[in-house]
Symmetry: C2
Subunit: 351 residues, 2 copies
């Protein structure tokens, strides 16, 4: 059994579900030769703890859920803990990064990832910020330090899009992609289509924990833009940030458009998309190489993106020679994101 | 550059498209460190040729397309050529198997694959027969001889379902799957839904080269049953053959059902499906472990399988913890199957 020591930085819903999923998956992981052990947890408001012999992450999750504090004062920062994390000949070390998104800078995740590489640890993350804002720098740094960075949960709630392209589409060329990638706006448009007012629907989504606390992240397209930037950076070497993605907001007025589309047998959707415009080698400025946008579009009723409701999301990848392949997640949710971290962990350790 | 010698057994539409795709993909393959070279071709009715220094597969494809014969008499059999294929320290050797489907026995592909393993070569195939009829035997033999067997193009026209599950869903458990996997019956039902008679529609599909020469393979569900058996064998260790899959035929009478479904806002589809019933370790007889069927089903209009028309096909995989993930190919066709062989080749050589 390959021992793998894990340092969890960020311990919100996804981080805590990852900790319990790790327990539930002990048997299949052992069958793959992997014996994970959580050695450290850093939370935002509930303290931090590091025990090099391993700690009980499930208990820590319960303490945090109940509003308690783990570890004793003074609380070390994530960067301090990562820097102090010593290599162990008997164990692989993986940082599990799940801090909240910052669409402008990708921080603090970017710094955590760089610190992990410097300390000789690999990284799996469900935070789209670093991939959307600094992918090129981070992948260069990973190559230079011989470390791995995986981020399957960052964009599509655990739908394995990055593994699909990397492992199952070798020697193929991706021309573009389009998807429904933000649950809140998808819920909102559905609700307005049925006649519910914008403010009521948004409040309901926030109460249910679907919408971000700052609604602009969802309704102004920032979350979707970060996802588009992440995919364009990884697949097109686009070197863009979320600010480079054209955005269109969902507002109270969107309801009327949605109802009109429905009446005409079509569906209004927020479509996140990017397309290679000029092959990179022939483009002079990096801006002209990729067209990236988050736009409201009326889709035919039998479009694979038109049929999605609730937490379902989907991505259509247009490639040569495979044509248009769509991957759809019918049951979204944070358990899937937690699983994406687990699958990244397996892939990091197996390589 | 890793030199890879290829022996093409079967040189129909898919095999010939593979040969030209190999040429078109020389650059991306080189970027992956792979330098393929066709050393042998075996056709059913157009002779065979083996040149250990490499031969011109594109020319051979043109000769065969024009009805000519490659190589000189007497024509060696595929088994003879495989048995005579000597290991080469400087090159990996891969058999590319694309002979036609036999749903009862999986032959001659099964024998070709075993001969390749015995000769020390790896195998990629687009023939579902061996996977549907003899997967367990062949994978045991691959393990025993230290060889690899890949078959991404066997089931879903190049949609990367096997790679998806193997590479992107580690430590997950598949409970079942359902899909629209046969283009001919999907076309047929669509045509009858629009009022076209069964015989006319079938004749049109045969003329277009979509339907199999023996229509029973399509309309009586044998092709779909072979695909179900292949997936159940790989994912559930079901050890079934196509005969173990319950089948329902598409007939002239299906048209009325399709029109009635449409009138009720639903779509009639041939749904190929299997589900784990009892975990293998707890089941006494192998028959009770898996329920596998090809059935006509009325689906809600927003079901991801209901929206498929023409050559589109799709598979929904129900797993823990990922839930229901659907992968859809909107642009089917034999070029995609040829690409699946190419992607298998890359994966075989890279491991």
């Amino acid at each position: 059994l390959q021992r793998v020591d894990l340092l969890l930085v960020g311990f919100g819903h996804v981080g805590r579900r990852f900790a319990s999923l790790l327990e539930e998956s002990r048997e299949p992981l052992a069958a793959l030769g992997i014996g994970p052990r959580v050695v450290g947890i850093v939370t935002r408001r509930h303290g931090a703890k590091f025990v090099s012999a391993g700690l009980d992450a499930a208990s820590a999750a319960r303490i945090v859920t109940d509003g308690g504090v783990i570890g004793s004062a003074p609380t070390p920062s994530a960067l301090e803990l990562i820097a102090r994390w010593r290599p162990d000949a008997a164990a692989a070390r993986v940082l599990v990064e799940t801090t909240p998104l910052d669409v402008r800078s990708g921080e603090p995740a970017v710094s955590h990832i760089r610190a992990a590489f410097a300390a000789g640890a690999d990284v799996v993350t469900a935070n789209k910020g670093p991939i959307a804002c600094a992918y090129r720098t981070l992948s260069d740094e990973a190559a230079r330090t011989g470390r791995q960075l995986r981020f399957e949960g960052a964009v599509m709630d655990g739908i394995p899009i990055f593994n699909l392209v990397r492992e199952a589409m070798p020697a193929a060329t991706i021309a573009g992609f389009r998807g429904v990638v933000n649950s809140t706006t998808n819920f909102l448009i559905d609700a307005m289509e049925r006649g519910e007012p914008f403010d009521d629907a948004l409040a309901r989504m926030q109460a249910a924990g679907v919408a971000e606390a700052d609604p602009a992240l969802d309704v102004d397209g920032w979350d979707a833009a970060a996802k588009v930037a992440a995919m364009a950076n990884v697949w097109f070497d686009a070197r863009i940030t979320p600010s480079d993605v054209v955005r269109e907001s969902v507002t109270a007025a969107t309801g009327e458009r949605a109802r009109a589309a429905r009446a005409a047998g079509r569906r209004l959707k927020v479509v996140a998309q990017a397309r290679r415009v000029v092959p990179r080698e022939r483009s002079e400025s990096r801006e002209s190489a990729v067209e990236a946008a988050v736009r409201l579009e009326e889709l035919p009723a039998d479009d694979p993106l038109a049929i999605l409701d609730g937490q379902a999301n989907a991505l259509e990848i247009d490639s040569w020679p495979l044509g248009r392949v769509v991957i759809t997640q019918r049951d979204g949710g944070l358990e899937k994101t937690a699983y994406a971290l687990l699958s990244d962990l397996v892939n990091v350790v197996s390589r």
